[in-house]
Symmetry: C2
Subunit: 250 residues, 2 copies
Amino acid sequence: MNILVTNDDGIYSSGIFALWEVAKEFGQAFVVAPASQKSAVGHGITISRPLFISSIKRSNGFDGYAISGSPADCVKVGIKRVLHKKPDLILSGINLGSNLGNDIIYSGTVAGALEGSMQHIPSVSFSVDSFEPKSFETSKYVIREAIKFLLKQNIPKQVSLNVNIPDCNLDQLNGLKITLQGGKYFEDDFNSYKDPKGNRYYWIKGETVDNDDSFDSDSFAVKNNYASITPISFNMSDNRIFKKLKKTIK
Amino acid sequence: MNILVTNDDGIYSSGIFALWEVAKEFGQAFVVAPASQKSAVGHGITISRPLFISSIKRSNGFDGYAISGSPADCVKVGIKRVLHKKPDLILSGINLGSNLGNDIIYSGTVAGALEGSMQHIPSVSFSVDSFEPKSFETSKYVIREAIKFLLKQNIPKQVSLNVNIPDCNLDQLNGLKITLQGGKYFEDDFNSYKDPKGNRYYWIKGETVDNDDSFDSDSFAVKNNYASITPISFNMSDNRIFKKLKKTIK
């Protein structure tokens, strides 16, 4: 099995190293990842500038390509200019910090997987619910289980799985849970500054608001030490509203 | 009515000027838009750098704020630092070039509106199906009709409308049509180059593939001279697959 591995924290992240270690248990792993931190780039792609590519070596045989673009760029370049064909599987992560609720829309990690599903390639994004995870033992267990689950189930290739992993010890993990994108959001605001010339600038700040405790929500699962698996689609049509509105226009 | 106007082509685009002209027929229009071209930034936001803001004046009383970030940044800054409250309506566009099918995922124009719906503000994105539209007469007609339609219908605030306008004369327009995100996609590839030092770089290229002629698809509507209105949601959960997979895990 050919596996394309990417992320949004960049090719030198501890998370992508752990993901690569598991990926190579399942097949040949090709790492194509951003050269630098690309958090919150969403599904942006680079169309007005060129993309630079360089060969990277880390320890224990980890090698790959660093790209001067977004995770979605990495998947596109990986397919067309590294593998020269579609891989059998795309894995994105492990993101340091969860991607739950509204985060999904902003996440470069999720976009890496979603780009795969847009090209009809089975794809999974992985995030751990901590910026400084204790270890990757639980994450690695969940990645193995999620890949086995994906290979076993007949999931349409246009559906991507967004996996969030609690930062708990393996013996505290309650299992995997299939979930829906919940209502967690970021209540943002801006600090205001002036530069030495007097020009105004802002810096985003904010707080996570996570009060969606509905049983099926992604963040409720993670809070209860389940690994959350949310099937997501790049088709954003709201079918219910479509049917309702269609009746209003002849 | 307070109306926040943004786009992804930048504050000096002809498209945002035309949108502003219609917006001010409906209320007070506040323009907060990217300082430069931001096509294909998707729903990226700026979290690791500051955002600069500057006051802009164009002809005929058009004034607004230019932001050194993405359309989603502009909506966030517009709410928190320009209006200091949520507007009654957010309009994004007019994008020069359609946002149909898979384009929706990459589009900064759509993200501008989607950011509004994430904050429970009625929001519409507008794109015209040409990089060099003949005129904005048809677009302006469609914008008026779409705003009236939005105000009349009881559309949930978490749903955004993605409007695509054919580049035809007004007397050739067949009307408005409620549609679904269709299968149009970009078959991308990369040209390969070396810089003067011998470093490899790539530039994305590609061709639009548009063979989804299903009756309800967004691009089929535009091809047939209808203005396409697609209700879209930032909740990417695939409910059908959720229900199917839920049965497989206890």
